[in-house]
Structure formats: structure tokens, C-alpha cells
């Protein structure tokens, strides 16, 4: 028998929402415990700050330029390489439970496989194996999908409609009447995407994902080697956790985040030091992407709204931690505790009030790029607890899974197995991590390329409808951890900037040709 693998991802979770990363709001004892016994990564970055490209990176082990999912709404081809296929070929039983999002959600034609897996609309969800003739999808022999609520054709929504139809209307409508990301909110402060959700906790998608993961694990023979990607849709907005849990944290007691400048003058001064699309979005005069509410103007965000969002986000993080604890207990009960590797991370971060902004977009700063990442190797592997400060990325996850399984990482993977300590990282050349952004939406295109290396983050802008290609950002993470002072034009840092840009260009990943088409907004 080999090592079992539980890959746990959340959606849009900030680095600083975990206790082990210094977070003081959400109680996350389960993940903190994994970090204490395993390896915690201080500088893990996503290769994209939105879902579909980032999740495609986790699955393929490739940068977005190479796998080709260059923005949300671009579908990952079904024959794209997949680490799940590699593990399955090596004899692993494989499952993905929760949010997949390798193909667009907004699909009235139901032409994407992942939206059709739960079977024809109108009835209860079909078995998670996809029906007659099914073998696997992207290497997953078992796939049960969920998203952020009760809408759509995925397994969770279909289960809820079938088993608890009275709960379908309890969730927040993620999209508004024009199919834009909804700007409304009905919490105490009117914050966007905040909603009072009376759904019983047992029916909420976080617990459903854990329940279905446990059900799949229970279906396996004890001698099986398995890889399960348990993918929670939270704490991505909407912030509508079960109302029964909201009282855990009174938003009135929540301190404002360190990255939130409290006066409008400070916010505007900081943002004005960055490329112009920052201010244009802040003022509500430009929406360059689909990932934030189109009608919401960031400049209108109030401190109390931010407190309420932060509190609800923390509650969602706590529910995930507790759900993970349930799954880990079941793993122990099955006798797999000593032989199971657990990796916990997310697909990208959340601005969370930094600079007076929320949600996400073409903004390569820690709020969005820096991820929680914890790897608790199986006890049988004998790895020592460690904290890694070297830069690593989600692109390194797939080769890590291969290493755990004792399988050679295929050549198409572009990262390498995560280091087990800083000495290991130095020896194997973990010096830099790259992040990229491309978006084109109704005549507005934005393109960023970022390198994080040696304590600096440097972003260059390619020409687009808002930028002429000369803009950039450069931050000293030690002196300016909140990235409030853009030093891209600082003459004193020009040699460093040139070196970082040269390094970025030298390590840019191959670009998939022909380019994949944008097929839907998300």
C-alpha cells in the first residue's frame, strides 16, 4: 500500500485567514494542527488570481500561458494533461468532490461535460460516476460538483432541489437580473454579496462537500490507494454562511484589516501610485473583468461593510476547518491516518479591504496572490515539521502529488515537488514564482506579468486598452509588506527592476497556440 492523498482546496481564501499564518479572527485549529506537524509555506503564490486558470494550474501542473486557460470563461480542453490521470494510471482511486470549475458555469446550452455530469435537468442528480460508459473525467473516476449556491446544474444544487427544495431560495442570488455579479446585499450594513441565509448548517455546501467526501472514502476498500481532491466553494463570495453560525463573530467587534487605509485621502494617494486601472475601478469608471460586482463602486465601501464581510468570511473559514476535521477523523477511523498526506491551499486570494477594495481582478498584490499552503506529509514519510520561506506556487502541487505517490512527474509539468524546508528549497532552486493575468471583456483588455523573487514583487503591464505597456509595479516586501508604495519608477531600484524583468522574461512559460477562445463570462 502507498500513501493516500487528500488535497483540500478552498476558494478565494486569504493567507492571513488561518491562525497558523497569524490570523486572529477565524479559529482554524485543524489546519493549524496540520501546519504544526507538517510544512507551512510563507510565500506560496497562485499563478493566476482567478478561479479557472488557477484550478487548471493545480490540475495540469502548468502555468496559465501553457495550459491555455487565460481567463475565467475559457474552458480547459478535456484532453488537457491531468495529475489525476497520472495517479489513476499508477493505480490510485481518484475523486474530486466540490468545486471543479475547469469549464464555464454559465452554460444554458449545457454543452460542457462538467455541467452535464449530474444528468438531465428536472430530476435528482445522477450518480457521481456520470452514467453508462463512464470511465473517468480528467482522471477522476468519481466527481461530485458544487458551486456557491443552489443555482445551476451541479450535483449539490440538484441534491438540494431534490432533497430540500424549501432551501433553494435561501441562498443569495450570485448574479443579478442582467447576469452580472450581484451588487446587492441584505446584511446589517448593505455590503455587496452579504446575505442572511437561513439554511440549516447540515444542508450548506461546506458540510455537503465533507459529507460526500466521507461517503466516497467509505466506499473504498481499506487496502486502496486513493487521491481525493476535496474542493470547498467557500470563503469565496457570496458571504452567506448559515445564519445559525453568523453569531460566532460579531462584526461590530472586528478590527479593520491592516491593509485598509482608513481615510479616503490615504486610499486615493496609495492607489494613485499604481497603474491607472486601480483608480479607475476604485472610482467606478472602469470594470475590466467579470469577477467583481459590475454595479458596485469600491469607493463607496464603508468600514462597517468591510467589518461585516470580514466577519462572515471568517465564519466560512471556521466551517471549512470543522468540515475538514470531520473528514480527517474518518480517515483515522478507516486506519489510514499514518499513511495519508494532507495538502491544504486555495486557488487565489481576496482583496479583503486592502486599498479599500474587495473581490478580485488584475491586481497582483499579496491579498490576491499570496496563499495559505500547508502540507502535512504522511507520518510514515518521516518528514520533519518546517516553515518554508522560499517562493513556491500552485504549479508545484501536481509534481508534489506525483512525488507522494512515488510516480515520476511527467515532462509536461512545469513545477517541481514542494520543498520540505528552506535548505531543500535552496538546493533545488526555488528562487522565483510567476503570476499572470490576461482579460478581454467587451473592448477592455488588461495584461500583467509578475515575478516574486528575493523579497520583491515586480509586475509589468503589456499594452492594452488601459495601459501603454510602460507601466509597472515594484514592491519591497520587507519594507512595505502591505505594498502601498510602488517603486517601479524609483531610480534607486532601477537596476533591481531591470534584473527582475529580465528574469521574468527568461522564465516565462511557453504559450499555447492557437489561443483558446473565451466561451462564457465565467
Amino acid at each position: 500500500m502507498g500513501r493516500k492523498i487528500l488535497l483540500v482546496t478552498t476558494d478565494q481564501q486569504r493567507y492571513d485567514t488561518l491562525g497558523c499564518n497569524g490570523g486572529e479572527l477565524a479559529r482554524t485549529p485543524v489546519v493549524d494542527g496540520l501546519a504544526e506537524r507538517g510544512v507551512r509555506y510563507e510565500r506560496a503564490h497562485s499563478q493566476s488570481v482567478v478561479c479557472m486558470p488557477s484550478r487548471s494550474t493545480i490540475l495540469t501542473g502548468q502555468h496559465p500561458s501553457t495550459h491555455g486557460v487565460w481567463m475565467n470563461g475559457v474552458a480547459l480542453p478535456e484532453d488537457a494533461p491531468s495529475v489525476a490521470s497520472v495517479l489513476r494510471e499508477a493505480g490510485y482511486r481518484t475523486a474530486l468532490v466540490g468545486k471543479a470549475h475547469f469549464q464555464p458555469f454559465l452554460d444554458p446550452f449545457l454543452r460542457f461535460t462538467e455541467n452535464a455530469l449530474a444528468g438531465p435537468p428536472g430530476g435528482p442528480p445522477r450518480g457521481a460516476t456520470g452514467g453508462p460508459g463512464w470511465t473517468a473525467h480528467r482522471g477522476f473516476e468519481h466527481l461530485e460538483s458544487a458551486a456557491h449556491g443552489a443555482a445551476g446544474p451541479l450535483h449539490y444544487a440538484r441534491w438540494l432541489a431534490s432533497e430540500h427544495p424549501e432551501a433553494v431560495g435561501m441562498y443569495y442570488p450570485v448574479l443579478d437580473g442582467a447576469l452580472q455579479v450581484n451588487s446587492a446585499g441584505d446584511g446589517d450594513t448593505g455590503a455587496p454579496q452579504v446575505h442572511v441565509n437561513p439554511i440549516p448548517r447540515d444542508w450548506y455546501h461546506t458540510d455537503w462537500v465533507a459529507d460526500r467526501t466521507i461517503a466516497w472514502l467509505d466506499s473504498l476498500p481499506v487496502e486502496a490507494d486513493w487521491f481525493c481532491w476535496m474542493s470547498f466553494p467557500d470563503p469565496h463570495h457570496p458571504w452567506d454562511p448559515p445564519q445559525s453560525e453568523v453569531g460566532r463573530i460579531d462584526w461590530r467587534d472586528v478590527p479593520l484589516p491592516a491593509g485598509y487605509p482608513e481615510t479616503a485621502a490615504d486610499r486615493e494617494r496609495i492607489i494613485d501610485g499604481k497603474p491607472r486601472h486601480w483608480r479607475l475601478w476604485y472610482d467606478g469608471s472602469l470594470v475590466s473583468n467579470y469577477e467583481a460586482p459590475a454595479e458596485w463602486v469600491p469607493a463607496t465601501l464603508t468600514p462597517d461593510q468591510l467589518r461585516e464581510v470580514t466577519a462572515r468570511n471568517a465564519v466560512e473559514c471556521e466551517l471549512i476547518d470543522e468540515a475538514l476535521g470531520r473528514v480527517l477523523r474518518r480517515v483515522e477511523e478507516r486506519g489510514w491516518g499514518e499513511d495519508t498526506d494532507v495538502l491544504f491551499t486555495t486557488d487565489h486570494g481576496e482583496l479583503g479591504g486592502d486599498f479599500g477594495l474587495m473581490f478580485k481582478g488584475p491586481y497582483h498584490v499579496d491579498g490576491l496572490m499570496r496563499l495559505p499552503l500547508v502540507w502535512r506529509p504522511a507520518a510514515s514519510a518521516g518528514a520533519a515539521p518546517a516553515v518554508v520561506h522560499a517562493p513556491v506556487g500552485l504549479v508545484d502541487l501536481a509534481p508534489t502529488l506525483c512525488a507522494v505517490a512515488g510516480v515520476q512527474a511527467p515532462d509536461w509539468m512545469q513545477g517541481q515537488a514542494l520543498p520540505l524546508g528552506d535548505a531543500d528549497a535552496a538546493e533545488r532552486g526555488f528562487e522565483r514564482v510567476l503570476t499572470e493575468w490576461d482579460s478581454e471583456l467587451f473592448g477592455v483588455d488588461v495584461h500583467l506579468r509578475t515575478i516574486t523573487r528575493g523579497g520583491y514583487v515586480c509586475t509589468v503591464y503589456l499594452p492594452g486598452s488601459v495601459h501603454d505597456g510602460t507601466e509597472g509595479e515594484l514592491y519591497d516586501l520587507a519594507e512595505d509588506p502591505l505594498q502601498q508604495v510602488n517603486r517601479f519608477e524609483d531610480p534607486a531600484l532601477r537596476p533591481l527592476r531591470d534584473d527582475l524583468v529580465d528574469d521574468l522574461l527568461a522564465h516565462s512559460p511557453p504559450v499555447r497556440r492557437p489561443r483558446l477562445e473565451l466561451e462564457a463570462p465565467v
Binding site: L110, R111, E519, P521
Partner: protein, 134 residues
């Protein structure tokens, strides 16, 4: 603020005579043969009704079916749309091949991308169908 109205175009070059491609595109009732995700299609006069794989029924009005220009235009008349026009053009490239273009203008803008994205997928399928590729 984001644009309320959206405009999207997709195109594909097809190694077949324009008239052969038009024979498919211009036959309004044959839509389900080449548009993935449309499972049923009926035509009565200038009214077409399509049913998608998700169970959605969309009423449409055919605006243009011009054999000489090889242009087909239709409007989805479901109340959700403030405005919608889709145009499919088949352009003879003069070398035995043609260019098929699917253009969508819609409000709300998101629907231009939803319909246009699916239209692009349909063009790729049309190319396979007409060229006889697997």
C-alpha cells in the same frame, strides 16, 4: 460601470464551398444539427423555437435569410433580453474555402458572450460537419 450592451464575433475558415456551408446555415430548421447544446428546433413562418440541453426554450424571430448574401439573422425574443441580434455570414474566400462568422449583439451584455461563445463552438462543429472531419 460595465457596458450594458455587448458585441461579440467568432469566425472560422471552412475548407468547403460557401454554397455548401450556406446549405446548412441557411436552413433554419437544421440548427440542432450543428449547434451543440440545442436539442430541438422547430420553424413556423418566421418564428423559430429552440430548446437547449438545459431545458430552456427560446423563442426566436428570423430577421434575414438571404441566399445571395449568405446572411442569416435572428432575434431571441425571450423577455430576458432587452435587445438581441445574431448574424451568421458565410463569405466566399475565392479559393474553394469560406469564412463563417457568428456575430452577436445583446443587452444584457453578458448574453452576447454566452450566445457568442456557444456560437463559436457551433462554428467549430459546423466546420467538422461540412469538412467531414472526425
Amino acid at each position: 460601470m460595465t457596458a450594458r450592451r455587448g458585441s461579440v464575433r467568432r469566425e472560422v475558415r471552412i475548407e468547403a464551398a460557401a454554397d455548401d456551408v450556406w446549405a446548412v446555415v441557411g436552413a433554419a430548421g437544421r440548427l440542432a444539427e450543428w449547434f451543440p447544446g440545442i436539442v430541438a428546433c422547430s420553424v413556423e413562418g418566421d418564428l423559430r423555437t429552440v430548446t437547449t440541453a438545459s431545458g430552456l426554450t427560446l423563442p426566436e424571430r428570423i430577421l434575414t435569410c438571404d441566399r445571395l448574401q449568405r446572411r442569416f439573422q435572428y432575434r431571441i425574443t425571450a423577455p430576458f433580453f432587452v435587445e438581441h441580434t445574431s448574424t451568421i455570414d458565410v463569405l466566399d474566400l475565392g479559393d474553394g474555402s469560406c469564412l463563417a462568422a457568428y456575430s452577436v449583439d445583446a443587452e444584457p451584455s453578458v448574453m452576447a458572450l454566452v450566445i457568442g461563445g456557444a456560437g463559436g463552438n457551433a462554428l467549430a462543429n459546423l466546420k467538422r460537419l461540412v469538412e467531414g472531419a472526425p
